[in-house]
Assembly symmetry: C2
Homo-oligomer: 143 residues x 2
């Protein structure tokens, strides 16, 4: 049977699991698309630079078509959840910085929680990340 | 309309274009799946280490579910088209080394060819990479 996947399903299927960071990436990818008028076309010349490596990157690969193989997804490691989207050859771009309240939901505490407790915590984090009002989620800076 | 994509279409759609290197990655990914009995399941714990960065990596992300975001696709840059597939926590793995005759089809000559000539050359390279006999394509070393 052939069922059209939603963007969320496409991201999670590609990534391999559901977690707070991929939820964060999913939301950032959607905001970038809206801000830049990016259509999810495979021939998009959008480049993404992430200021930290995390699961979030897989969302940019699927939704923004900025893939690691093609070289238009790179990491400039600064341990910050700041994401830069830029059309190559133009000054058109957007910077999306995740707010502190959201980052607290990403903090790892796996060593002191049971699997069940961690699953519950992750689910709460995902709900918060996907559902919180945009002004509380991130700061958007357009070039 | 919803049409089930072939593995090749999935790889090319994700990658954004057809090129010799993505063809190479596609073939290597398929060989690895056959050798290791990998099923294209999202929860696979397969890790891939590539001895060079190229478009080929995107095929491993789609077909072997070794994604850059999740951290089970890494590059150990040695400028060699050698690819290591390994199940985490086991000694089960396979190393696939591309043969010289194939690598010659990847050599870039873009500066001296017209666009049309380059397209023709790329198409010939893709046909060679996808169609050449496996013993001439690569060396397979199982762990």
């Amino acid at each position: 049977m052939c069922v059209e996947k939603t963007p969320w399903e496409q991201v999670v299927d590609f990534h391999g699991h559901t977690c707070p960071e991929i939820s964060l990436g999913y939301r950032v990818a959607q905001i970038a698309m809206r801000e830049l008028g990016i259509r999810p076309a495979p021939n998009s010349q959008l480049s993404v630079v992430a200021d930290t490596h995390s699961c979030a990157l897989d969302a940019f690969q699927v939704l923004n078509h900025a893939t690691y193989g093609r070289g238009n997804l790179t990491v400039n490691e600064k341990k910050n959840h700041v994401y830069h989207f830029q059309y190559s050859g133009t000054s058109e771009g957007v910077q999306i910085s995740i707010k502190t309240a959201v980052l607290e939901h990403l903090a790892g505490t796996r060593d002191i929680l049971t699997t069940r407790e961690q699953q519950t915590k992750d689910l709460e984090a995902i709900q918060f990340i996907l559902g919180t009002e945009e002004t509380l989620f991130c700061t958007i800076l357009k070039a």
